[in-house]
């Protein structure tokens, strides 16, 4: 239930609903989008970025909070552990227990490698679990990998590495088939045809879904498969430093038990970083839709041993984070709500944009509507605009919401809001790390041998903005591929003597650059205690 202060605005939204449903808002021109982004998108706020003074991306700018972590002290020194007595010795070490890590583990195991997953929470406590809307793949007759390529390349501002993107789109249908064969339940018609919808910026309906639990359905199936294969999962254990061998190749990691703080050494022939995103860094003070452990750990681990970053300055603010009630502030309201027909409406009941612009454009447009144009709704905890969910029932028929987006219905129901009858308030939320470690199409970093990366920790697949449904896709495509290639590389690798010399080297760089900092990294978990809660 909305209190009295919202009623006037809700009445305006209701009064205009029929008219707004019929309206086909124009899409913005390329020029309009450019201008909008430059003025209102958080990525363009210069004073929120800092220049890196050391490391492989020296001279480039990244979000201030990330710069602090990338240029912080290690949590340990080289003599904190005994490298000659590893606690674990495996072929492939996977850091991270989300969708990319699990996919990699299954494929590496399939290839015969001795593989192990470490994760600082539990396997499946990951952004994959929270992906609601769906996964893209050009598998319909009116679609093709080439069309998918153009959509993603344009949506990412023509900045994607084309070899990575072509792999993404060409391997997509097989990724869906792989998941189906594992038992993932995609929404299908009675004849087996996939039920697909649009996402922002797609030119074909290629969003496959499992209701609005798409990521959860994929993640729990992958997790089950990892367990069925008896792949060791060391949970509540973080990787806090990579280990190289004397040849400079990745050869393991120093691990820390999150509860006892015990340090452990994992030796490996190849390492896969699958640590996910960075929403819990709360860049620019934004709330986030991300899981508790999304703190850019993989970027820090990689950067310290010399791996390059690509597009780390670009973040994705999902246009529709929950703006009200405050208990779910920042939680994701899936783009699928708009795919199913709900439009964005301002406080006066006016549709102010096409609901399926790309995410960066949609986020900037909402920020403009609430800020410069003054048409937002005061939520008591900031501003928001309406997402007119009752439109879905009018367009798709009664029951559509319960059938297609049950998680959304449940999320708001808990706070007395029936999204079938009442619109919801939304505002952009920090959602996705577009950039990350730079890789070649086989998944290996461009400059540290035997160090692979998969999932959100990769940069360059999507360019500077990612389309809905391409992230669930990339964790599967690049996760599998990293697993296969890391297993293969492991077979050809003889590990030399292990070293942690890079820690002292990096420490020297910090000193020489005159950086004064008390911070240590990786961050591992945000601190919300004592009313630090965001």
């Amino acid at each position: 239930m909305y209190s009295e202060k919202f009623q006037k605005s809700i009445a305006a939204v209701e009064a205009a609903r029929e008219k707004n449903i019929a309206l086909e808002p124009e899409r913005m021109t390329a020029k309009q989008k450019e201008d909008l982004l430059a003025e209102y998108h958080p990525d363009y706020k210069k004073d929120e970025f800092a220049e890196l003074k050391i490391g492989p991306n020296k001279g480039e700018k990244v979000p201030t909070e990330l710069a602090e972590m990338l240029q912080a002290h290690s949590r340990i020194t080289a003599d904190s552990v005994n490298l000659s007595k590893p606690d674990y010795d495996v072929d492939v070490l996977i850091i991270g227990g989300g969708g990319a890590g699990a996919s990699a583990a299954i494929e590496a195991n399939e290839a015969g490698a001795d593989v192990m997953i470490v994760t600082k929470l539990r396997i499946g406590d990951a952004n994959t679990m929270m992906a609601e809307g769906g996964i893209q793949a050009a598998d319909k007759p009116n679609d093709s990998p080439a069309i998918h390529f153009v959509d993603a390349f344009g949506g990412g501002h023509f900045a994607a590495k084309r070899d990575l993107l072509s792999k993404l789109v060409c391997d997509a249908p097989e990724a869906i088939q792989w998941l189906s064969n594992l038992g993932v339940e995609f929404d299908k018609d009675a004849d087996g045809t996939m039920i697909t919808t649009h996402g922002g910026g797609t030119s074909r309906k290629r969003m496959h879904a499992a209701k609005d639990y798409s990521g959860a359905e994929i993640m729990r199936t992958l997790r089950d498969e990892v367990l069925n294969r008896n792949i060791p999962v060391v949970d509540f254990t973080s990787a806090i430093e990579l280990i190289l061998d004397e040849n400079g190749n990745a050869a393991g990691a120093v691990l820390m038990n999150m509860e006892t703080k015990e340090l452990l050494v994992a030796k490996a022939k190849t390492v896969i970083i699958a640590t996910g995103g960075a929403g819990r860094m709360h860049y620019q003070g934004f709330p986030t839709s991300n899981h508790y452990g999304a703190t850019a750990d993989g970027l820090v681990l990689g950067y310290r041993v010399g791996a390059k970053l690509l597009y780390a300055e670009t973040l994705q603010y999902h246009p529709t984070g929950a703006a009200y009630p405050e208990q779910i502030f920042g939680a994701l309201v899936t783009e699928k709500v708009r795919s199913l027909g709900a439009k964005l409406v301002n406080g006066n009941g006016e549709v102010f944009m096409h609901p399926l612009e790309t995410r960066d454009v949609a986020a900037a447009s909402i920020i403009r509507e609430c800020g410069a144009r003054g048409n937002g709704v005061d939520t008591g905890n900031g501003l928001g605009v309406w997402l007119d969910t009752p439109m879905i029932e009018k367009i798709g028929g009664e029951g559509t919401i319960e059938k297609r987006i049950p998680a959304m219905m449940r999320m708001f129901e808990k706070y007395g809001i029936d999204i079938r009858k009442e619109p919801i308030l939304v505002y952009p939320t920090l959602h996705y790390q577009n950039g990350g470690l730079d890789i070649t199409p086989d998944g290996m970093t461009t400059n540290v041998k035997n160090l692979f990366v998969a999932g959100e920790a990769v940069g360059g697949i999507h360019g500077k903005n990612r389309l809905m449904g391409n992230s669930l896709l990339d964790i599967i495509v690049f996760g599998r591929s990293a697993g296969i290639n890391a297993a293969k590389a492991a077979k050809e690798t003889t590990v030399g003597n292990l070293t942690l010399d890079h820690i002292a080297k990096f420490e020297n760089e910090i000193k020489s650059a005159g950086i004064e900092t008390d911070s240590v990294s990786p961050k591992l978990l945000p601190n919300y205690t004592n009313q630090n809660n965001i």
């Binding site: 679990m129 929270m130 060409c170 594992l182 449940r410």
Partner: protein
């Protein structure tokens, strides 16, 4: 000023604002969570929690990230529950009733107390989906259990020792892999890609100058 309420975390009293979830109330009280906190949005099932309101007999279950605190709430988190997870090979398993009998025979010991359903943090009809599993009706079991986040509260309340979320997981995988209709257009497309049908098109896109790519993107036809 926030309205404050008294809550009891593992029996110890704290005063917290009444608009917080149980999870954020724990953090407000000073707990740095490691266990019992995952997605913070109701999808991962890491924060199963049981509580009782003072004066009330009933023990209730919820997800800590999805539930507001109440005055005089006694709270104990259940960050791990030892479910039984059987190991099986999806390629060799057969979609027959016998599978459940072999892997999870305890489901047939269900006494119909319905404690599972009453405790479900997602409001699912858990006992019903177990009944479907008993009959080998995997499709219905999959549908009825679909929104399960595998928090394990149902199993903690079960006198028959059933690991409901794992039973449902098996049913969904069997349904997704063996019973759901096969997708013809997907198979066709995978084959086309393997046959190299799109190689030339993709290769052209790999080489095209940015200006031409922009033109292609900005003028592309968008399916209604």
């Amino acid at each position: 000023m926030d309205n404050m309420v008294n809550i009891f975390l593992f029996g110890k009293k704290y005063e917290v604002p009444d608009n917080l979830t149980i999870m954020s109330a724990m953090e407000y009280a000073g707990y740095q969570l490691v266990r019992g906190c995952g997605c913070r949005n109701g999808f991962c099932g890491a924060c199963a929690t049981i509580y009782r309101i003072k004066g009330d007999r009933e023990l209730k279950a919820c997800l800590a990230c999805q539930t507001k605190v109440e005055d005089n709430m006694y709270i104990a988190t259940l960050p791990f529950f030892p479910l039984v997870k059987q190991v099986y090979d999806m390629e060799k398993i057969k979609p027959t009733e016998a599978v459940m009998m072999q892997l999870y025979p305890e489901i047939y010991a269900c006494i119909g107390c319905n404690a599972c359903t009453k405790s479900c943090t997602q409001g699912l009809n858990v006992m019903q989906y177990i009944a479907y599993a008993q009959r080998g009706d995997f499709e219905k079991c999959a549908e009825e259990s679909f929104d399960c986040v595998m928090c394990g509260v149902c199993s903690s309340r079960c006198p028959a020792g059933i690991s409901h979320p794992q039973v449902a997981m098996l049913a969904r995988r069997i349904n997704g892999k063996y019973l759901a209709p096969e997708c013809g257009h997907l198979e066709d497309r995978v084959k086309e890609i393997k046959d190299g049908t799109f190689e030339e098109l993709i290769e052209a896109l790999m080489q095209k100058p940015i200006d031409e790519m922009k033109e292609l993107y900005n003028t592309r036809e968008i399916e209604k």
